[in-house]
């Protein structure tokens, strides 16, 4: 595979990636920095493909280049709007980045760190076997035929379980900071309405497709959840709001169903097989699909709620 594409393609891509990151981080304009960061995510997806990691490429495309970009743009807009309404000096987004006085020293130390890292990488032994062998030996016992999904949902299922809890925790952190901000709405217009009406079902369909694919090919709950979240974010951007009667229990159930079901199955497996998350062999495939389906719903809902940036429940205004 590596021989089909000349090695200087990789060199060019690697250099381009570092260059984009440098431009994004040293840009004197915040919006430019964010656009460069999104472009950086796109190039990173290409790098994952070159490293034969299509699962990560999918996750990077959906999260790194998509959801993160939307999050950053919305946050920047809120900074801007506040600045604008306070009618203070408007230079916040375009002033040159302020640097600490010791930046030359930091640059020197960073360059030294890079040289040390590069030297270490160059002298690293090449004969470490990794865990690929171990995974492929046990793949038949996992209930799925795609190794990455087997690792995520079975062999190291507790990682994924805890990760779902981390997502919930981040959301709780945001909710504890107050309600989601009121967005001054601009009329959407026919084109945006048509676009979101057409694209939202397509995103739903693609999410289901990726979820289904996960058992045997690159795909799975995280990628599907992120695509689902993109659909929700698109609806929010087109002026759709969560109806008030759904913001309390229905929303909470949706957010928690994935982690809760995962936890229940983990406990059941503890009772049945004597070990946490050791699924019964015959049912493993079905359990994984069930966990993945609910996890997709929860991940999608949590990511959309993260994008809202606060508790959507109508209540008392911020103290």
């Amino acid at each position: 595979m590596a021989t089909l594409i000349p090695v200087w393609f990789d060199g060019l891509l690697g250099l381009g990636l570092v260059w984009f990151a440098w431009q994004a981080l040293s840009s004197d304009n915040l919006f430019r920095a964010i656009v460069l960061f999104v472009a950086f995510g796109l190039m990173l997806a290409l790098v994952w493909v070159r490293l034969a990691a299509p699962d990560i490429a999918l996750a990077e495309a959906a999260i790194g280049a998509g959801v993160t970009g939307a999050l950053l743009l919305a946050a920047m807009a809120r900074l801007n709007v506040v600045i604008y309404e306070q009618a203070t000096d408007n230079n916040e987004t375009s002033s040159p980045p302020r640097r600490r006085p010791a930046s030359e020293l930091v640059a020197l130390l960073a360059a030294g760190l890079f040289v040390a890292l590069a030297w270490t990488l160059y002298h690293l032994p090449l004969d470490t076997p990794g865990l690929r062998q171990a995974v492929s030996e046990q793949l038949a016992n996992s209930g799925v035929s795609h190794p990455v999904t087997a690792v995520l949902l079975n062999f190291r299922g507790y990682d994924t379980l805890l990760e779902l809890l981390v997502l919930l925790l981040a959301l709780l952190g945001i909710w504890s900071l107050g309600q989601c901000p009121r967005q001054a709405e601009v009329a959407t217009g026919e084109v945006l309405d048509a676009l979101s009406r057409l694209l939202a079902p397509v995103l739903l369909l693609v999410a289901a497709y990726l979820l289904w694919l996960g058992a045997s090919a690159p795909g799975g709950a995280f990628q599907a959840g992120a695509v689902l979240a993109a659909g929700g974010i698109l609806l929010l951007l087109s002026g759709w709001r969560l109806p008030a009667r759904l913001t309390r229990w229905p929303l909470r159930v949706l957010l928690a169903v994935g982690p809760l079901l995962f936890l229940c199955l983990a406990l059941i497996s503890l009772l049945l097989e004597g070990r946490l998350l050791q699924y019964p062999l015959a049912q493993a495939g079905g359990w994984i699909l069930l966990i993945e389906a609910t996890a997709t719903l929860s991940i999608g809902a949590i990511l959309v709620a993260l994008f809202m940036g606060g508790n959507p429940e109508p209540g008392q205004p911020d103290e």
Binding site: V38, A62, V81, Q183, L195, L237
Partner: protein, 92 residues
């Protein structure tokens, strides 16, 4: 044929890198966003070429996801980051 695909990929990558200039120059936010859109399309093209070359069908799914998510980012830009009233986001 493989060699041709290799050159096509490098050609598309060079195209992508050239687009950096428009992101740097601006002058308006829209110009930068347009360059990012072209990045998305070029990445989609590179991914489908790689899918053919490396015989990895899953890369077409990556291309599909990028095509969809690029649209969502662009809508986020128009709806949130580039409001109708003039703010400092445009000034360079």
């Amino acid at each position: 044929m493989a060699l041709f695909y290799g050159f096509l990929l490098i050609f598309l990558l060079l195209n992508l890198l050239a687009g950096l200039w428009r992101i740097m120059r601006g002058p308006t936010g829209a110009d930068r966003m347009l360059a990012a859109q072209l990045f998305g399309t070029t990445t989609v093209a590179m991914l489908v070429v790689m899918a053919q070359l490396q015989e990895q069908a899953s890369l077409r799914n990556v291309a599909l996801v990028i095509a969809l998510l690029a649209a969502v980012t662009a809508v986020a830009f128009v709806r949130r980051a580039w409001p109708e009233k003039e703010t400092s986001a445009d000034a360079d």
